[in-house]
């Protein structure tokens, strides 16, 4: 059971990291336009 003393803080750190990525993703507009991105692959002028 002693491993939990390491694993619980580790999991909290991991969640905080995930939360940080979520903050970045939302604020940089990754969730803004979910439908148009699928169609973009059809646009040949873009790389």
């Amino acid at each position: 059971m002693d491993s939990l003393y390491l694993l619980i803080p580790l999991s909290v750190a991991l969640i905080l990291l995930v939360g940080g990525i979520l903050v970045w993703a939302v604020l940089s507009g990754q969730f803004e336009d979910l439908d148009a991105q699928g169609a973009r692959i059809l646009d040949e002028d873009r790389d």
Binding site: M1, L4, Y5, I8, P9, S11, V12, I15, L16, V18, G19, L22, V23, V26, L27, G29, F31, E32
Partner: protein, 819 residues
């Protein structure tokens, strides 16, 4: 039974007076024997040609901008800033989280020196303020907004708005992420037998939950803190106060338990509560933003522009500028089919205009050189050149908009059922927690704090605060699927509670444009041929009659031969050559002047004049070289779906009222027709100006009635704003000017019935939800007060009751799917 004019509802307006021979005191239109509208303006009795002119003159007089006499109407308006004139400002507001914020801000703005009236629109996130430019200015008003704790976004900054909506989304997502993690950390404690988990691990789990809950309480729940705070500041306890109390109690108690390592922690309930509330709130905000965006987009597309003629150019060179930039004295070109951008006087040309936005009368009025055109009127005749008399805030269109803002401020406040429950609930919970604390202090002081906290946490009104918004959001989505825009959620509940439904006549109960109701053949030509010629001559005109002819010709599948050499004479008629022959369509005298044989023409004219005048509309004569061919009668026709709607409203026990700007005989005639076809009793009020209609509604509301108004959103806009709930039928360019709670694009009157049905169902569902939430609390509170409630029961109960409320609300999705 018909009651053409009800005694209780005597119109406040002056009646149409005797015939006079002068000119209208506002637009200088010759009265030419027509009955005038007599009104005293600033102590002097005046005659106006129509209710529209009378109304605008009164409103301008109130703003001290009215022309003093017929001649002075041409003079430019006094410069802004002059003593008694008022200015208005529209300020975008950021940071409002609930309608209590709007009330608070409104109160602050009104108590600012120099402010005459203020209305804060929570949905549009805007404030409309009328103030004395001499005593205060826009910058002062903006400072007031900032001091009250709200933001003033620079312009309508799209980047700031985008950032704000991203932050809202972030709150939801972070709360859900934290909720899932906290739930996982809490689960071992619920599943393990007592003592199975080492105390050290237990404490570590608590600390982890605490760390993950902190951003939820401090960041995600911020809108609830703010809303509760502003509700407390205006002494209007809404649902956010008990939410904030429950949250604060749970957070503080759990943090204390973590720090002291004893007592229960409620981090799982807490985060779940915030996550559920935020999700529903976000859903509702998005639906609302979607609905307002559609109206705003229409407004942007139809932003009024003006064609200002260049001062030193001899030709017709003009610049297209926004209408707000016009100044008195500018010369503008007004093309056919476009709206008049400012109050202006014709200097060249003649045309017909429709002032339906103001008077509700769809008939086109002839205007010649020297006549006034009111801003917002539609030029349905030919291009003209005009000189601007009043522009911007002084124009008649702006005056009407001002009236809307004031009416919205006078609307009786909506008291949503859930809001009323919330106030009692908040007090009840505090009292319960207090008595629990007191009782346990007497019995076992060690358990007192724990039990009191448990009461506060378990009553945390999750289901209660989800009850109304969830049902409203689903109803809104349901309406949106039918293309109906719900712009004020509270209106849905008001709509279910109204006992009087008031209708505007023109464009609401009747088709928007006059229709060809009768075609009498007078000469040797068949009815279809007459229709073909009339439609051909009018093919390129924007006149309402021309549109009616085109519609009729299409409906009867009549071919339209090409017409050449078309000449339109404002106010009398139109002529053109079809298949080599000249025809005229218009007033009898004008049309018959074309007759090859003057004696026969005169005889036909005398015969026409001897006939009784058409009672059901205005008549027009089609004539050629051989004399009169046909008599065409244009009039209003009731919408096909009007009787069905009236019938079901009457069956639901609602009083139906028709308020119209039109003259009494026309209104009574339509009412009788509708009564016959629907069997519902209609009460009629004719000859009403927009202000008169509004006053009627206000009087009814003072008698304790709750009134819904259904109109086309143009000339009746102030009335729509005064009503407890309003529905506007509007489409295309008119969508832009509409300010109503519910907007039905397209003009299907049958949709109104669906809105009423859905409103009734929504109210029923909201009440069921509230009932369930209260029943849940009745069971849980005694358990908590007795100290029998484990934290996991609180969490499970909250999840279960929220799920039940969601399931119940989802039943709204299937309402009236096709009917």
């Amino acid at each position: 039974m018909a009651a053409p004019t009800s005694n209780r509802l005597e119109p406040a307006d002056a009646r149409r007076g005797a015939a006079t021979d002068g000119r209208c005191d506002f637009c200088a239109e010759p009265l030419a024997g027509r009955p005038a509208v007599q009104r005293p303006v600033r102590g002097v009795a005046r005659n106006y040609c129509c209710l529209g002119c009378a109304f605008i003159a009164e409103q301008l007089a109130a703003l001290a901008l009215a022309p003093d006499g017929p001649g002075a109407a041409g003079a430019p308006a006094p410069a802004a800033g002059g003593g008694r004139s008022a200015a208005s400002a529209r300020i975008a507001i950021g940071g409002m989280v609930c309608s209590a914020c709007a009330v608070l801000l409104e109160h602050r703005l009104r108590s600012t020196a120099g402010v005459r009236s203020a209305h804060v629109d929570f949905v549009a996130q805007r404030a409309q303020v009328v103030y004395d430019p001499g005593r205060t200015d826009r910058a002062t008003l903006e400072r007031t907004v900032l001091r009250s704790g709200y933001r003033v976004p620079a312009g309508d900054d799209p980047r700031a708005a985008k950032r704000a909506s991203r932050i809202e989304l972030l709150r939801v997502l972070l709360a859900w992420l934290a909720m899932m993690q906290v739930m996982m950390l809490a689960a071992p404690g619920y599943l393990a037998a007592p003592g199975q988990i080492a105390p050290g691990i237990e404490q570590m789990l608590r600390i982890a939950e605490c760390v993950l809950s902190a951003p939820v309480v401090l960041f995600c729940a911020a809108p609830f803190w703010r809303a509760a705070f502003s509700q407390l500041r205006v002494h209007r306890i809404g649902m956010d106060v008990p939410v904030a109390v429950g949250l604060a109690a749970a957070a503080a108690a759990s943090a204390w338990s973590t720090a002291t390592q004893r007592g229960a922690v409620y981090f799982d309930s807490l985060t779940m509560f915030v996550a559920l509330l935020l999700a529903v709130r976000w859903w509702q905000l998005r639906a609302m933003a979607h609905a307002t965006a559609q109206v705003d987009a229409a407004a942007r597309q139809t932003r009024m522009t003006a064609n200002r003629l260049r001062a030193h150019s001899s030709g017709a060179a003009y610049d297209t500028i926004p209408a707000e930039q016009l100044r008195a004295g500018d010369r503008i070109a007004i093309p056919a089919g476009e709206a008049v951008p400012a109050d202006a006087r014709i200097v060249a040309g003649s045309t017909n205009v429709s002032q339906a936005w103001l008077t509700g009368e769809s008939a086109a009025l002839p205007k010649v050189e020297g006549d006034m055109l009111l801003a917002g009127s539609l030029n349905v005749g030919q291009p003209v050149v005009a000189t601007v008399v009043r522009a911007g805030d002084a124009s008649s269109l702006a005056v009407l908009q001002q009236l809307i803002v004031e009416a919205a401020g006078r609307r009786p406040p909506a008291a949503p059922f859930a809001g009323r429950v919330a106030a009692g609930f908040a007090l009840g919970v505090l009292a319960l927690a207090g008595s629990t604390l007191a009782a346990w202090l007497l019995i076992d002081p060690a358990r007192a704090a724990g039990a009191a906290i448990a009461v506060l946490v378990v009553t945390c009104p999750c289901a209660l605060s989800l009850a109304a918004p969830l049902a409203a959001a689903i109803a809104q989505a349901r309406l949106a699927r039918n293309g109906v825009l719900l712009l004020r959620t509270a209106a849905l509940e008001s709509l279910a509670g109204v006992d009087i439904v008031a209708f505007d006549k023109t464009g609401t109960l009747t088709e928007h444009c006059p229709q060809l109701v009768r075609l009498e053949v007078l000469g040797g030509m068949g009815a279809d041929d007459c229709l073909a010629i009339a439609a051909a001559v009018e093919a390129h005109s924007q006149h309402p009659f021309a549109l009616a002819l085109a519609a009729q010709a299409r409906a009867r599948d009549v071919p339209r031969p090409p017409a050449i050499c078309i000449a339109e004479n404002a106010g009398v008629g139109i002529e053109g050559i079809v298949a080599g022959q000249r025809f005229r369509l218009g007033r009898a005298g004008y049309a018959l002047a074309l007759a090859r044989d003057p004696l026969a023409g005169a005889a036909a004219l005398a015969a026409l004049r001897a006939r009784p005048h058409a009672v059901d509309g205005s008549q027009v004569v089609l004539a050629g070289a051989d004399g009169a061919l046909a008599l065409l009668v244009f009039g209003e026709t009731p919408r096909a779906d009007a009787p069905g709607l009236l019938q079901s409203l009457a069956r639901a026990g609602k009083r139906v009222l028709v308020v119209s700007g039109d003259q009494a005989p026309a209104v009574a005639r339509l009412a009788r027709r509708l009564e016959q076809s629907s069997g519902a009793a209609l009460e009629c009020l004719a000859d009403q100006s927009p202000e008169g209609k509004r006053a009627v509604l206000e009087a009814l509301q003072r008698q304790g009635h709750r009134v819904a108004m259904i109109g086309d959103g143009m000339n009746d806009a102030p009335v729509l704003a005064q009503a407890d709930a309003s529905i506007a039928l509007a489409s295309g360019s008119r969508l832009a000017q509409v300010r109503a709670d519910v907007v039905i694009p397209g003009s299907e009157l049958a949709q109104v019935q669906r809105v009423f049905d859905l409103a009734r169902r929504t109210r029923a569902i909201i009440r069921e939800n509230l009932l369930w939430a209260l029943a849940y609390n009745l069971v849980m509170v005694p358990l908590a007060a007795l100290g029998l409630l484990a934290p996991w029961i609180a969490a499970a109960g909250m999840a279960a009751s929220a799920a039940l409320v969601l399931a119940n609300s989802l039943r709204l999705r299937g309402v009236a799917a096709g009917a």
